[in-house]
């Protein structure tokens, strides 16, 4: 039961989600290979080799990590594997369905639990229902939601070989023209232990500085609602929810967030929710483990001061 995990990486850094996904893949029983494609493949491969459970790292430096170029590459390697897995993030979501169609397979995506080699759970209807599916197909193509799986156990890595994949370089059909990166040094949202999220009530991009300040005090990642992103207060990659990122931190502090069902879809796996809202009846206030009724512009600065005082 060999497994191939497609590496998610950016600017020469392996995604923090990969440790979780490789650990989940290892639970399927077979040896786990990681495939790293693209320009920084060698550097990223060295990082992948450090993950416990990796049997071999395969690199394809000449293949750009796009759906159009990875599909034929993965299809050519598919014969060696029973499972091909990617992180449920931009690249994996782009590649796995395209690959599946070209192999005439039905993929199972956004998997949140694995019960054996061919039985998977995935949320539907914005997480308001959980579907268990069984696949009798000869091969399983999956994307996993990293937030649903525990981080890799601290175990020594096995010093796996790093081997280039044979195959021709493929010119990408789609050209990257420009990238607009959200600046900042906050932790990765999808795998953060603490997330501070702001809603439309935060009022402005300026207001989000306050949210970021609180996040900085706690070493937390920053999230936002769609309404806040649409209004231009927060960048799109901060959006949490059905159509944004899925988070499952130990602590989510939601500030001026009503708790629309599309937002709740992104926070279901959260252990503890703190909600700060002027409206005690807001849906999220009813769900939250701890709720404080109050105006965020008064509460958040006072909370920052208090956390600094008690050394949070």
């Amino acid at each position: 039961m060999a497994v191939l995990v497609l590496a998610e990486h950016d600017l020469g850094a392996l995604s923090p989600a990969m440790g979780r996904v490789v650990a989940a893949a290892e639970a399927l029983g077979g040896p786990v290979d990681v495939l790293v494609a693209g320009q920084n493949a060698q550097v990223v491969a060295d990082q992948a080799a450090l993950l416990p459970g990796v049997g071999r790292v395969r690199i394809a430096e000449a293949v750009a990590p796009t759906a159009e170029t990875l599909t034929p590459l993965l299809a050519s390697l598919a014969g060696d594997y029973d499972h091909i897995i990617a992180v449920s993030a931009a690249l994996g979501r782009d590649v796995i369905p395209r690959l599946a169609a070209s192999l005439d397979l039905m993929p199972v995506t956004d998997v949140t639990a694995i019960h054996g080699p061919n039985r998977f759970e995935r949320p539907i209807y914005a997480g308001n229902a959980i579907e268990t599916v069984v696949s009798e197909q000869p091969k399983h193509l999956l994307t996993l939601r990293a937030s649903a799986f525990p981080p890799a156990k601290l175990a020594p890595a096995g010093d796996p070989p790093i081997e280039p994949v044979a195959g021709a370089a493929l010119a990408p059909l789609v050209q990257l023209l420009a990238a607009h990166r959200t600046e900042g040094d906050r932790p990765d949202l999808a795998t953060a232990k603490i997330v501070v999220g702001g809603g439309i009530a935060v009022g402005s991009a300026e207001g989000f500085r306050l949210i970021e300040e609180l996040a900085a005090v706690l070493g937390a990642a920053v999230g936002a609602t769609r309404a806040a992103v649409d209004a231009g207060y927060a960048p799109n990659d901060w959006q949490v929810g059905q159509t944004g990122k899925i988070i499952a931190p130990d602590l989510y502090i939601a500030i001026g967030v009503s708790g629309a069902l599309q937002h709740l879809a992104g926070i279901q796996g959260t252990k503890k929710i703190v909600a700060i809202n002027t409206d005690a009846e807001a849906p999220l206030m009813k769900l939250a483990d701890y709720r404080l009724v109050g105006d965020l512009f008064a509460v958040v600065p006072a909370l920052i001061t208090e956390l600094k005082r008690v050394g949070g």
Binding site: E68, A101, A126, A129, K193, L251, K286, A302
Partner: protein, 253 residues
């Protein structure tokens, strides 16, 4: 561009709070409001805007589903689509089967661009656009928040994990719409009336002679674990204490 094909799915309206049937067999869809998948409205809007800007001549709206899915085609035609195609089936098709049918329609229609939503909010799959592009061997741009026509084809802004990025694509291509692509119009009544007189072809899915059989067996559908709800916190000091304690636990665990 001569022609744009837009795929639109009829789904349980996104404002409906769905109920999971107690026997685990599925989600209650009898007597609930159905409407066009929200993302697909953005796809239709983008297509109609390309026509209005003089970049395209015709918008064909296609939906796959039962007779009732005609409603979403009419919505698309009321928004400015020129004609519709219903690929009729009473079976609940998997995304792979939907993509195969759309590929068959695309081969007949030869569009320069196929626009879809990025995901259907019932199954939340986020598959069909990528699958269709794979079957046709066309370039794809998913999660689009901007589309511009260029000499070479399209410049598409995509929402990705690190922010946004712009990509150049040759045509024909497949693009899937995100919510920030545009603001879909509400069709005025005269447009709604006019939609009924626009051409609408009905094609039985079986006519395409494709393998549409499901590949996955749905074993059960269950409601998610419920959250217990919590308690009110008296003041900032108590809140800070709770946060500090939870943070400490998180760092150990």
């Amino acid at each position: 561009m001569k022609k744009i094909l837009v795929a639109a799915k009829r789904v349980v309206d996104h404002n409906v709070r769905i109920r999971v049937r107690s026997d685990g067999s599925g989600v209650e869809t009898d007597n609930v409001r159905l409407s066009m998948n929200p993302f697909d409205k953005h796809a239709v809007e983008a297509a109609v805007q390309l026509v209005e800007q003089g970049h395209a001549a015709e918008v064909v709206v296609v939906s796959i589903g039962p007779k009732g899915a005609t409603d979403v085609i009419l919505t698309g035609l009321a928004m400015g689509g020129h004609r519709g195609i219903l690929v009729e089936t009473d079976e609940k098709l998997e995304t792979l089967a939907v993509a195969k049918l759309l590929a068959a329609v695309a081969r007949e229609e030869n569009p320069d661009l196929v626009l879809l939503g990025k995901q259907a909010v019932d199954d939340d799959s986020n598959h069909v656009g990528q699958m269709l592009a794979g079957l046709l061997g066309w370039p794809q741009a998913t999660f689009a928040s901007g589309i511009e026509v260029t000499e070479e084809g399209l410049k598409v802004t995509r929402e990705v994990d690190f922010g946004r990025a712009e990509y150049g694509l040759p045509l024909p291509a497949v693009v899937t719409a995100d919510l920030r692509l545009n603001t879909p119009r509400n069709a005025a009544l005269p447009m709604v009336m006019k939609a009924r007189s626009k051409p609408l072809a009905v094609r039985p899915a079986a006519e395409f002679g494709l393998d549409l059989a499901p590949r996955l067996r749905v074993e059960k559908i269950a409601p998610p674990p419920e959250r217990a709800g919590g308690r009110a916190v008296a003041d900032i000091a108590e809140l800070a204490a709770i946060i500090v304690e939870t943070k400490a636990e998180a760092e150990i665990g």
